[in-house]
Symmetry: C2
Subunit: 421 residues, 2 copies
């Protein structure tokens, strides 16, 4: 074929899949990411709760592309794109493209709520997860040497904001870390002083799923000891006190923010039409309206013809990547482009040991069955055989011994005691 | 017994062993460490060369002490000790002791050589290993986007200073990372531009071992492509150019320093008699001469009666911990204290795949036999069954696939490109 130069921005699920699908077709392919690894985001919360090693949810992009000689990789940050000139500006210089596949993903968003950005802990990338792990483990160490009970309670109250899948999974995993592990590690602490709360602004958890499952998740979390507060609108947080509409201020040193994401800055600043959450509006072919040589996929894209936001999850990104690759090839061949159709593979959220909720088509599952589905799906999707093996062993270990073995405070925050009061 | 309060400083091999041995004897025990984990230092170089996950060479101290109800753990930095007042000053307040077991270990030492401390990379703790991993992997990413061949060569020249076990093992592992992995990951690079050098000031590598083994190690490293320079005395390093006595200045961005350690600052500032490398001089009972209630063990101690420095390695620390524990119990019982006798278990250093040197009593081993001994000894010594299992699997994976799977740039250095030029 043509030897056209295709630049793919982002080595997440979408970008990686696009690179693989476009490989072997005579293109000159360049994949750019600011990290040298592909991240399996769905398991980040298990890194944050000391169940998995950070390295086991990440894999070297170059390792993943070894079989694809025609794909080059550049580790650099993309600082801007000039669509008209077909140029990309990166921390490592400028690049030109004939086609662009923009798979730049999403980032944390705190809706300008006062103090949230500065004081809360996000859970969006690998560094976030390690910072959070250190904070959680450090909170118990700090409490063990804090004589004042009021300070101790504030240090041991963990509030998760956002009742989507990440918030629900984080809340479940955190209570298990506390009940199965911290309780045994810290015999000197009074665990009545420890609390986990999950706050959701809407009237139910997991708004993307069937209401029955939302309710099942709520009950399962409360059984584990999570205090679930629905219709709780967060107003502000100063690092010590969380203000929530209509209730008394809550003293806590630990606010975990999972309540919002939006398209990455690069996409929001693209100068094109945007859908909700700053996602770039694309035609049914996944092209930008004014720049048919640019395809936007995954969390970065809002496919106008579907008329609603697609969930920001791996299967969507992968389906769109496959579709964009097909359409680029058709474009090169002068064929008519095909419209993207989303096939919903279902939704899953795990609440903890033997507990999950799953929705696949019209089927709904809860409890042990849903949990097994969750396990199998995540193991299959996790990239790299070594990671699959290591994660499987970690899960088996955790399940048998009620353990979370990776509870070391290391990296990111030199001394956790310095981080907050 | 008495309920005497024993404080143990340091949760390395010595401190941890002392805590275990003193447990169950009626003492009030407190173990202090600035980290919440015990570190298996002998495998740090494998973390630095992307072979092992950092989490697999570390284990939560509290997990290790679960069976010992009478041992409390405090995560804090010890800032000073007032021996006369029997008080310890920590980042978390003051403590009193009846007995002190000082197992504070060793730290990196650069002998005030200009620029070494500021610009070279040490390999002494877990953060060092991760910084080094990021630097090594980042060097190749950076080279792949560096058009100037002189800059590229400087970025791809790795110089290890110090031909002791750590330097030798690091040099061997680094060449394997380069030859087995980087060569396949970076088809765009010319590997003639990559170099690994090992510099040793004395006339042979592994000075603690038999000269035959020193020579075997040198030959094995050179076979792997390491440039070994003996009697090479480093003068200074400015981050770009390394000055070595008698030879032309060497352009390199990567200097790894394994040439010196000394007792930790806490020990050096103790105000007692010191042996070489700032180690506290102890009597044959392992007590300080003036303060018989203080026992110093491991890297921190210089047992005067032996008349020479003992190697800074785990078996020494563990033997001394056992001995200090016995003597504390005897002291409490009013019995005569016993003199410490060191039983040398031998020395091991691995050079890489199927290659190591070992000295056990009068027996010397090289090649595959020594490598097998090294593997078995390190697996047995590694603490925690889960870590043993994970490390064994990592080694098997590496051996079968010639892989180093943990090659992700993450944590510690936000963007490796900022670190040097």
């Amino acid at each position: 074929m043509s030897g056209a130069r295709i630049v793919i921005v982002g080595a997440g699920f979408g970008g990686l899949q696009a690179a693989r699908k476009l490989s072997g077709r005579g293109f000159e392919l360049l994949l750019i990411d600011r990290h040298n690894y592909h991240l399996f985001q769905p398991l980040l919360y298990q890194v944050a709760t000391a169940g998995l090693e950070p390295e086991h949810v990440a894999k070297s992009v170059r390792a993943l592309l070894r079989e694809h000689d025609d794909v080059r990789f550049l580790m650099a940050e993309v600082e801007g794109i000039n669509l008209a000139a077909r140029r990309i500006f990166t921390t490592s210089g400028e690049l030109e493209f004939d086609y662009l596949v923009l798979a730049a993903g999403a980032e944390n968003q705190t809706f300008s709520l006062p103090g949230i950005e500065a004081h809360s802990l996000p859970l969006k990338d690998l560094d976030d997860a390690v910072v959070l792990r250190n904070r959680l483990l450090g909170a118990f160490e700090r409490a063990s040497r804090t004589p004042d009970p009021v300070q101790r309670r504030a240090g041991l109250h963990f509030i998760i904001i956002g009742g989507g899948a990440t918030g629900v999974e984080m809340a479940g995993a955190l209570t298990e870390l506390i009940e199965h592990v911290m309780r045994r590690d810290f015999p000197e602490l009074d665990f009545d002083e420890v609390g986990v709360s999950l706050l959701e602004a809407r009237d139910r958890l997991l708004p993307g799923m069937d209401p029955d499952l939302s309710e099942a998740a709520r009950v399962a979390l409360e059984d584990k000891g999570v205090r679930v507060r629905l219709e709780a609108r967060v107003l502000s947080y100063d690092g010590k006190t969380l203000d929530v509409e209509g209730i008394d201020p809550i003293r806590t040193n630990n606010v975990i923010w999972t309540a919002g994401v939006r398209a990455s800055r690069l996409v929001r600043e693209l100068g094109v039409e945007h859908g909700p959450a700053g996602r770039a509006m694309v035609r049914q072919t996944l092209q930008l309206a004014v720049h048919p040589e640019v395809f936007v996929i995954g969390d970065a894209a809002y496919p106008e013809h579907i008329g609603k936001s697609l969930p920001m999850m791996a299967p969507v990104a992968i389906q769109m990547a496959d579709h964009a690759a097909v359409n680029i090839v058709r474009l090169e061949r002068g064929q008519t482009l095909l419209p993207f159709k989303f096939s919903d593979p279902g939704r899953l959220a795990t609440i903890g040991r033997n507990a999950a909720v799953a929705q696949i088509g019209r089927l709904k599952f809860t409890g042990f069955g849903a949990w097994l589905i969750w396990l199998v799906v995540h193991l299959l999707r996790l990239i790299g055989f070594r990671n699959k093996l290591m994660v499987f062993l970690s899960w088996a270990w955790e399940y048998i011994f009620y353990d979370r073995a990776v509870r070391i405070i290391h990296g990111e925050t030199p001394h956790p005691e310095q981080s907050s009061g």
